[in-house]
């Protein structure tokens, strides 16, 4: 038995990106003692990579904007699969969340009359994205970080301890959510310090998961190493279901060359500010890919599209600004048809559209990124871009108002790890606002829940801690595969080579990229499930060298559990949903099926009673359950034209 340090807090937030920090600020301001756990250093979360902006209908640039329009755009973008109540709350509260950042010191770009400037983005009817050049995510994370520091300064004045009410445990990984054996309520988390490898337990009646996404399961991704689906897996293992995991967004424009930066994001602002997509023949091919549901909203000629930048009220926007799923599929088709760029992408050009100094001012980090990493001067030549795995719309199923996970009292989720808000496809800019709106809600309701429990805190049994510790230590005593036979017979277990976690990870990424990628087919996904099962068997033998102190091999071996779980959810759900919608495209079912609109696919652990050890590795760990969505509230439906609704909703839904 290991003796593990236990600490007591009211709320523990796992993840220190935009959602996690916003949740922590809210919980602390509600009076809860709050701990934040993050895998990276404080302030390095993946949110810093967000470039374009925060969508909020402040109407600073076009006063026709309001929350209803934003709501409509969000629902259209998500192909009506969104949890409509979340989309409603999001559209209503986003402006307040942005303004509040200013009172914490954020400095957004300004309009001429000194308000927050807003820019155009794909799928948004009006200029709506509050931004700072193309480094909005950095501004967001820094502002939240500095707000946390300011709260700690207040605590220092009052208690003489910066960390009395709010503490960040940086470079720590959480491997298990611990629950009370008796009533199944959340009781805390099991974590280790990456630096020392030391285990610790935080006893807290509420856990807010804000761990972001799953991109590291794919080979070409814009996501950082942290995005291993930790929160998704923690929730699953704790008994909470995941929602619609088949919807994975491939951002249309990632870098394609050089190989080492393949997948790194090229912000959508490039297109929002006038950049155009061309194929190898020099054609603006997006005009050929406007789907019927969007026909009325987009320009038919290049001239009209170009006029829109100056006069958006009397012209329609260019199709480069279609929602991301449409653009990604179009690029994919062009490349497949042999009209791609030399390195297998298409051309994204701003150099012929704007003067060089304007490009450098409006897209400074893009200029920098291409110059430094690819030796390309975007003011003089076109960029080569192609789709990259960017975001998962699916996630932990939550109650819309409270961000509470279904079925596990005390568990909350916000940000990318939570599902539902974006439906089948997320609009650019809606992510940062999602983080703030639901981060705050999660913090608020978690604090209330914790306060409501009073002194009756759930209890963590030592046995649970021992199990978690044993699971975390497995890679140090891993044995090689049984079937390692030599001429003299099987090797003794100690001499068999263990699986290399780096190799396993690469194989997983390749499999997901090739078989459950942007265009999906039934046979391929079936193959993917087989490969995943095989990898799962091998991953149990993943071994590592060295000791527990800052050992990246060990960290990766532990993260593999999460990536495999989440990948299976994606593959299984994708196989199940026999239609194409948003971020889920089936070659064998190319159309959108109104019958599927109401259907949510919930992924659950197949064997919720046992740990992973009890799960048959071949049979799979995930079971799917279908659940119908609630009908959209009539006053919200009334925001749309009937002709539009017909395209999405089944007959009976329209007349209810």
């Amino acid at each position: 038995m290991t003796t593990v340090e236990r600490q007591q807090w009211d709320v523990v937030v796992v993840g220190a990106g935009g959602a996690g920090l916003r949740a922590a600020i809210e919980a602390r301001e509600q009076g809860a003692r709050t701990a934040v756990i993050c895998k990276s250093l404080f302030g390095k979360a993946h949110t810093v990579m967000a470039e374009g902006g925060i969508a909020a209908s402040m109407g600073n640039v076009n006063d026709g904007d309001n929350w209803q329009v934003h709501f409509r755009d969000t629902m259209r973008g998500g192909k009506f699969l969104n949890q409509w109540r979340m989309a409603e709350l999001h559209a209503q509260e986003a402006p307040d969340r942005v303004w509040e950042l200013e009172t914490w010191g954020a400095l957004f770009d300004r309009t001429r009359d000194g308000k927050i400037s807003q820019r155009n983005f794909g799928g948004h009817e009006y200029p709506r994205l509050a931004h700072v050049g193309d480094r909005t995510g950095l501004e967001l994370i820094r502002t939240l970080q500095q707000k946390i520091v300011s709260l700690q300064q207040e605590d220092f004045k009052e208690h003489g301890d910066y960390e009395a009410g709010l503490k960040v445990f940086q470079e720590c990984t959480t491997t298990r959510i611990l629950k009370d054996d008796v009533d199944g309520k959340v009781a805390g988390i099991f974590s280790y310090e990456r630096e020392s490898g030391r285990f610790f337990v935080i006893e807290a009646p509420t856990v807010i998961l804000a761990t972001g996404g799953i991109g590291k399961s794919f080979k070409v991704t814009s996501n950082s190493w942290e995005y291993t689906g930790d929160g998704h897996a923690l929730a699953l293992l704790a008994g909470a279901p995941l929602l619609n995991m088949e919807f994975v967004q491939f951002h249309p424009t990632g870098m394609v060359w050089p190989p080492s930066v393949k997948g790194i994001l090229v912000t959508e602002s490039v297109r929002g500010d006038g950049g155009v997509l061309r194929n190898s023949e020099g054609k603006r091919f997006m005009f050929d890919y406007i789907p019927d549901v969007f026909k009325e909203k987009y320009a038919e000629s290049e001239e009209e599209g170009d006029r829109w930048y100056e006069d958006p009220d009397r012209n329609r926007r260019p199709p480069e600004l279609l929602p991301r799923d449409e653009v990604a599929r179009a690029i994919n088709s062009e490349v497949k048809a042999g009209r791609g760029s030399p390195h297998g992408g298409v051309f994204l050009d701003v150099s012929t559209r704007m003067p060089a100094d304007v490009i450098r001012r409006r897209l400074p980090s893009m200029y920098h990124q291409f110059k430094e990493l690819a030796d390309v001067d975007i003011t003089a030549e076109a960029m080569e871009v192609g789709p990259t795995c960017h975001y998962v719309m699916g996630g932990i199923a939550v109650e819309s108002d409270t961000a509470a996970a279904l079925g596990v009292p005390g568990l909350f989720a916000a940000g990318e790890v939570a599902g539902g808000m974006h439906g089948s496809n997320r609009l650019g800019g809606n992510s940062l606002s999602d983080l703030l709106v639901f981060g705050r809600r999660a913090g608020l309701h978690a604090a209330k829940y914790a306060a409501g429990l009073g002194a009756e805190r759930p209890v963590i049994e030592d046995s649970q801690i021992d199990l978690a510790a044993a699971e975390a230590l497995r890679p140090f005593s891993a044995e090689g595969p049984d079937e390692t036979l030599t001429e003299e017979g099987p090797l003794p277990s100690t001499a068999r080579p263990a699986e290399n976690p780096y190799t396993l990870h690469q194989e997983l990424q390749q499999a997901m990229n090739d078989l459950v990628g942007i265009i999906r087919r039934e046979e391929e996904m079936a193959t993917a499930l087989k490969r995943l099962a095989d990898l799962r068997v091998r991953a149990r033998r993943a071994g590592v060298e060295g000791h527990r102190q800052f050992n990246p091999g060990w960290h990766l071996a532990l993260d593999m559990r999460n990536m495999l779980l989440v990948s299976e959810c994606i593959a299984r759900s994708a196989l199940e949903r026999t239609e194409s919608r948003g971020g889920h495209t089936r070659e064998d079912y190319p159309g959108m099926d109104r019958g599927w609109r109401k259907v949510n696919l919930l992924s659950q652990l197949a064997d919720p009673t046992g740990g992973l050890a009890a799960t048959d590795p071949v049979r799979g760990q995930i079971r799917l359950v279908r659940k119908e969505t609630e009908p959209i509230r009539p006053d919200l439906l009334a925001l749309f034209e009937k002709e539009e609704l017909v395209k999405y909703l089944a007959e009976e839904e329209l007349y209810e």
Binding site: K44, T103, G105, R142
Partner: protein, 262 residues
Amino acid sequence: MSTAASTSYEAHFKVWRGDTDGGGLEDFKVEVNDGEVVLDIIHRLQATQAPDLAVRWNCKAGKCGSCSAEINGRPRLLCMTRMSTFSREETLTVTPLRAFPVVRDLVTDVGFNYTKAREVPAFVPPQGLGPGEYRMMQEDVDRSQEFRKCIECFLCQDTCHVVRDHEENKSAFAGPRFLMRVAELDMHPLDSAAESGLERKKTAQDEHGLGYCNITKCCTEVCPEGIKITDNALIPLKERAVDRKYDPLVWLGNKIRRRPGA
């Protein structure tokens, strides 16, 4: 640009491995391909030769500031240092940041910076302006926005000789990054620290050790974001401190202006 011609080669690396108890440079021969950066090579070492080689990284696009280390003795971001900037024959020496305590291999304890961050009083919101009522002109936010480009890679803190060469100065000196933070707030058009009795320019000198800076500009040289830390933050801050204490005309002006009121 053509990928047909094989452009990979074998490079010679020396990587510092060890921890607080000691360590040394270890030799590696490792494959390098077209377009790669130093971080790619470190990752290849992890995947093929040294699975427990510790390195801190995150975004791999120069945006998070995690992978700070020293390459051939110069503080750099591993992910933004292209292999093509070195000759193929050159041996690359990679060490952890040398101004901070080492944790393991290329990972250092950067806690100093988080301590200093806490010592700079936060933005003071203006009284009487609610959320949504802030009005600021672009030309008034430009200066602070430049400083807010900072990705907190702490390369400036590492290279600054005030603390790099003199551990004992760490308690008195905030370092370029956090002096720049003071400048950022002092130039923020709506920061009302002064109204609440906090004179930021004065604290820069009295509490954050601005006087230790001898403007030798290494912070500006290493900044991966190209922020003109010395010219735009530190020197203006020194000048603002001079306004308070040493300027003869300001002193005279105050004398004359105060007289009628007195």
